[in-house]
């Protein structure tokens, strides 16, 4: 065992330890904070698994934006002062649940250890297709997301739209159309404004860079879009821009642009390349980048809207 292996073991123990505290913590807020820390640690595991794209996504969406969502939720729940003491479940119930959980975890661990050797893989096929359907994209993950499994990616954008409508639908009837509650209340402070002014331009540039390099290197529409989303949230927290109204036409157009462009180009594939969701080989790379540009916009708009929650009556002018 070399040094790296020891570090791996320490990382693994740390993750399981922090995850246990989020489950065991008595306090809701402590559990949430533990979860965010745990999410960042998890990004390291993804690096160790040679998955930089996933590590970026995990850090940006899985830990970052989810963290903002959960902390905002924890704060709003706390502000309501109604986190009534939880009823502790009976000991036998705890024991049985623990046994069930251990059984499932054990079976899963066994299954993972029993995975066949040599492992099956689509990597050779993906490599062989890299020049054709892979469209000359240097990043095989972008090729999978945007070409071989573009149908999944398009559907997942639809899921985001539905989630936005679902979150909005939870609001009150009379609030419909107005803006969600501000992320930060009551007033932005000077350091927050300073941070937003300094960070946002750089962050936007980096977001666009991550999306652009995603064709050939780790990165892509998801990670770039998530970074842009984070910057928008920072600007909104500093109250440099207002939370948009949910019936604003521009917001709806931006939200829907990713799946809409994807759908139109997918349909056009039948006529330009002989099959739905196929691209003409000579133009594949520019077309994919074109679709991804709109996906970045959609994601950058959808994530903050999902964090912000349903339209609120208080934010009415």
């Amino acid at each position: 065992m070399n040094l790296l292996s020891y570090l791996d073991v320490v990382l693994a123990l740390l993750i399981v330890g922090v995850a246990s505290t989020t489950i065991a913590a008595r306090d809701l807020f402590a559990a949430v904070v533990g979860y965010v820390a745990y999410g960042l640690l998890l990004a390291f595991v993804w690096i160790r698994l040679y998955a930089p794209d996933v590590a970026l996504t995990e850090a940006a969406v899985g830990s970052g934006v989810t963290g903002v969502l959960l902390i905002t939720a924890g704060k709003r729940l706390g502000a309501l002062k109604n986190a009534a003491p939880e009823v502790q479940p009976a000991f036998t119930f705890k024991l049985l649940t623990g046994m069930l959980a251990a059984l499932v975890a054990g079976a899963l661990a066994a299954a993972i250890l029993l995975l066949p050797d040599p492992p099956p893989s689509l990597a050779p096929e993906a490599a062989a297709a890299a020049d054709g359907a892979g469209a000359g994209l240097g990043n095989p993950i972008t090729a999978v997301l945007m070409s071989y499994r573009s149908f999944d990616t398009m559907l997942e954008k639809m899921v985001l739209i539905l989630a936005v409508v679902g979150v909005w639908s939870v609001g009150a009837d009379k609030a419909w159309g107005s803006a969600p509650a501000e992320l930060r209340q009551p007033k932005a402070t000077a350091p927050m404004i300073f941070l937003a002014q300094m960070l946002a331009p750089v962050g936007v540039l980096i977001g666009i860079h991550i999306f652009w390099t995603g064709a050939n290197a780790p990165g892509g529409a998801f990670q770039g879009g998530a970074l842009l989303a984070a910057m928008w949230m920072v600007i909104m927290m500093a109250q440099l821009v207002k939370m948009p109204r949910v019936d604003a036409q521009w917001l709806r157009v931006v939200l829907v642009s990713g799946p809409a462009v994807f759908l139109i180009i997918g349909l056009a594939g039948e006529f330009t390349a002989g099959s739905f969701f196929a691209y003409p080989p000579s133009l594949a790379k520019p077309i994919i980048l074109f679709i991804e540009a709109f996906m970045v916009l959609s994601i950058a708009a959808a994530l903050p809207m999902l964090v912000a929650g349903p339209p609120s009556e208080r934010s009415d002018p």
Partner: protein, 94 residues
């Protein structure tokens, strides 16, 4: 071993020490403001020295620039959030 290697080792070593000290401070200091103080030392000095030590080893001007940008970004967000946390603490005390 060149002089640059020695420089790298020294800078990264000192940087790591600041991280260590910052972490000890975070765990041992009595209240939030002093813990914050320890943390910002680790962020600013520790990361700055590590980045400085890595600079000679960067394989291109672009990746050297990236290192500097990373440090500057952490400096920016670290100092701002420290301010925010500090203010929140002061509000809480009143």
């Amino acid at each position: 071993m060149t002089l640059l290697d020695l420089f790298s080792i020294a800078a990264i070593g000192v940087g790591t020490f600041f991280f260590f000290a910052g972490t000890v401070g975070l765990l041992r200091f009595p209240d939030s403001l002093t813990r914050l103080h320890a943390l910002t030392k680790a962020d600013n000095l520790g990361l700055g020295l590590v980045a400085l030590g890595l600079l000679p080893r960067a394989d291109s001007a672009l990746s050297a620039l990236k290192l500097i940008v990373i440090w500057a970004l952490v400096l920016l967000s670290g100092s701002s959030t420290a301010q925010l946390i500090g203010r929140a603490l002061r509000r809480g005390r009143k």
